[in-house]
């Protein structure tokens, strides 16, 4: 059977499963459409949250980022998991107790203001739309690589499948397809990782293999990797970072951004009880950690594997001849994600860090520039081929990559459509809309959101990569602080919350635009995006635009408390509302009367 047929069976089979689940889990009421009826088992919800959260970026790109950056990029590992601690203790149980359908619902009620609700809707839509573009393009790439269709057609197929289960099933359909998608993606991610760990370290579990002995050299794997990369002029893989302030702020931005992303928060509205919301956050992190503990092992092993393939006798000896390169390199060269250019015309592949500091060594060895460019993203996708695994594993990776992209896209689309139908239409424009009318409005806005997301995926704005910084920046600087103050302070009032959210939102956007271009239009950046130009850049402790979300959040808190202190405290009924969300039972009944 050809590889194409195998891929088709895996992808087609997984899609048929998602659609079958959607038909089984149709949504009949707004409560089922928005929060799956509120009856999802906490362990199942944890699994669905893991699939919801782990996007194409986690599945495809993260291992490549860590491979390239080594210790410095541990920020992604800590940042994208630590947010769940904040969710479990600071947000999820109380918002579950509040018991409504969306994140702007809480902000609008707690700060007794349509203005606050609309600011929250705007933040939610900007953050979620920028995020969904990446998922759709990721799905398109996976399709074009594995199914030999153009990425536009791939996108349309993906959109139709998401449309079927998300529009029909709402949160209920999405929840149970996400559970299935989690199973597909985690199997796809871990099987090749186990094999590569066995090959390199003779250890079955990749996270243990990471700190074990490299079988071939007898040295610890990480020490071997440090040795190989430094002989090629790269920084040591485990080298410490000088600008620790930026590393701390970047990690913090990712953590509070994670906790503030609406599509993650609404997953905790689907469990039956407050106690379940707490457990569920723990289960979500367990399922996420299965991938996040495997990723750094894949990163270091794949990087070492690549370098030892190119330098079979060590980096100080001759590199392999281009004509003898392994088959997987040939396959990936056709996609343009691996590029070779024989600069010194010796027919061999020299891969090294072409910097002035290494120029003398390179010249001594007769090298005339780095000859191989390897895109970070292929590391996970090419892993089964690098490890010589059978064809069905490649089919599994294709289905896994698509599962990661589609599960996140569906969660985002639900967050967007519920903000439109529930907060914008029912909450502001037409409060007397019937239950049936609202359900129809929710389905129509979901359909429109899918069409827009597909169109954006086909015509990605040139700035798609940078906008992820914007999504996390906005979630960190506007949504997270507003939710937290709404629960933990009875004193923060409507004016304070709105000023705080706007101050956080604007300061973060402006700081990002200053370095990455105004509204990301190329060529409009005020300052070149280099560390010396950043805030405090002169001291060597500059704050990168990606790290500013944490600073924006602090600005939000400071402004909200300052403004609230000089204006009237919230009315008594709002203080009672705050009291009620703090207790799983009791004070809640006082509000209902």
């Amino acid at each position: 059977m050809s590889q194409f047929a195998i891929n088709l069976i895996f992808v087609g089979g997984s899609f048929a499963l998602y659609i079958a689940i959607a038909i089984w889990a149709r949504a009949g009421s707004t409560k089922e459409f928005y929060v799956a009826g509120g009856g999802v088992n906490p362990v199942m919800n944890g699994m669905a949250t893991a699939a919801d959260w782990m996007s194409a970026a986690s599945f495809i790109s993260m291992a490549g980022l860590i491979a390239a950056g080594g210790y410095a990029n541990s920020t992604f590992l800590m940042g994208w998991t630590g947010g769940y601690v904040l969710l479990a203790m600071l947000l999820a149980p109380y918002l579950r107790k509040f018991g409504k359908f969306t994140v702007p619902d809480f902000i609008g009620d707690r700060f007794y203001s349509t203005g606050a609700r609309l600011v929250a809707v705007a933040c939610l839509i900007i953050a979620s739309v920028t995020y969904v573009i990446g998922q759709m393009t990721g799905a398109g790439v996976a399709f074009s690589r594995f199914l030999e269709v153009s990425s536009d057609w791939g996108l349309i197929i993906a959109a139709v499948v998401v449309f079927l289960y998300a529009v029909m099933g709402g949160m209920k359909g999405i929840t149970y397809t996400q559970v299935a998608q989690y199973v597909v993606l985690i199997i796809a991610y871990t099987i090749p990782a186990v094999f590569i760990s066995l090959q390199l370290t003779d250890t079955f579990l990749p996270p243990i293999g990471l700190f074990s002995e490299h079988t071939e050299s007898g040295m610890p794997l990480l020490a071997k990797l440090d040795q190989v990369v430094s002989e090629l002029g790269f920084r040591d893989y485990t080298a410490d970072v000088d600008n620790k302030l930026n590393m701390v702020l970047f990690t913090l931005s990712l953590m509070i951004g994670t906790a503030g992303l609406p599509h993650v928060i609404i997953r905790f509205f689907t469990v039956p009880k407050v106690a379940d919301a707490r457990w569920s956050a723990g289960w979500a992190l367990v399922f996420i950690a299965l991938l996040y503990l495997t990723a750094p092992a894949v990163a270091s092993m794949a990087r070492l594997n690549l370098l030892t393939t190119i330098y079979p006798d060590g980096p100080t000896a001759q590199a392999i001849e281009y004509s003898e390169r392994p088959d997987w390199m040939k396959t990936w060269e056709t996609t343009g994600l691996i590029q070779y250019n024989d600069k010194n015309n010796d027919g061999r592949i020299q891969l090294y860090n072409d910097t002035p500091a290494f120029a003398d060594t390179a010249a001594e060895r007769g090298w005339n520039g780095n000859e191989l460019i390897v895109n970070n993203d292929i590391l996970v996708l090419a892993n089964p081929e690098i490890a010589n695994l059978p064809g069905w594993v490649i089919g599994l990776i294709a289905a896994g990559g698509l599962a990661a992209a589609l599960s996140t896209a569906a969660g985002l689309l639900l967050a967007i459509s519920s903000a439109i139908s529930h907060d914008l239409i029912k909450g502001s424009i037409k409060p007397d809309i019937s239950e049936k009318g609202e359900l129809l409005a929710a389905r129509i806005s979901m359909g429109v959101a899918i069409v827009v997301a597909t169109w954006l995926g086909m015509n990605p704005p040139g700035f798609a990569a940078q906008t992820v910084a914007l999504a996390f920046g906005i979630a960190a600087a506007s949504i997270f602080p507003a939710l937290m103050m709404g629960i933990f302070s009875k004193r923060v009032n409507n004016v304070g919350a709105i000023s705080g959210m706007l101050a956080g939102l604007i300061s973060t956007c402006v700081y990002i635009f200053l370095y990455l271009g105004w509204f990301f239009i190329p060529g409009t950046a005020t300052f070149e995006n280099i560390p010396q130009n950043w805030l405090f850049g002169g001291t060597g402790y500059g704050i990168s635009p990606l790290s500013f979300g944490a600073v924006g959040a602090m600005i939000n808190f400071a402004v909200a408390f300052a403004v609230s202190a000089v204006t009237a405290p919230p009315p008594v009924r709002i203080q009672e509302l705050v009291e009620s969300v703090r207790f799983p039972r009791g004070a809640g009944q006082a509000i209902d009367h």
Binding site: L77, M78, L210, V248, A281, G282, Y292
Partner: protein, 87 residues
């Protein structure tokens, strides 16, 4: 009534103390051991590198999981002790 209010306040104070305790550990393993204190942990070797690297790539995540389950277990117990749990 006064008793009920005192009870509510005690419950909320207990929750806040628990959160602060957990977040101190949360910050210590990630921002502390994983980033800022790494140079001080450089002398403790772990599989070809040092303890700080281990915390940054594995230890912090494992601690996060333990923290959430500990918090959920403690809080669900406190809910019952203070009689504010759901039926």
């Amino acid at each position: 009534m006064a008793d009920h209010t005192n009870n509510a306040r005690a419950y909320w104070q207990a929750n806040l103390r628990l959160i602060v305790g957990c977040l101190v550990i949360w910050a210590l393993v990630s921002y502390g051991f994983g980033i800022l204190l790494r140079p001080w942990l450089a002398g403790i070797p772990v599989g070809g590198t040092d303890l700080g690297f281990w915390f940054a790539q594995q230890g912090s995540i494992l601690t996060f999981i333990a923290l959430i389950f500990f918090y959920a277990w403690r809080m669900n117990k406190l809910d019952k002790e203070f009689g504010v749990d759901e039926e």
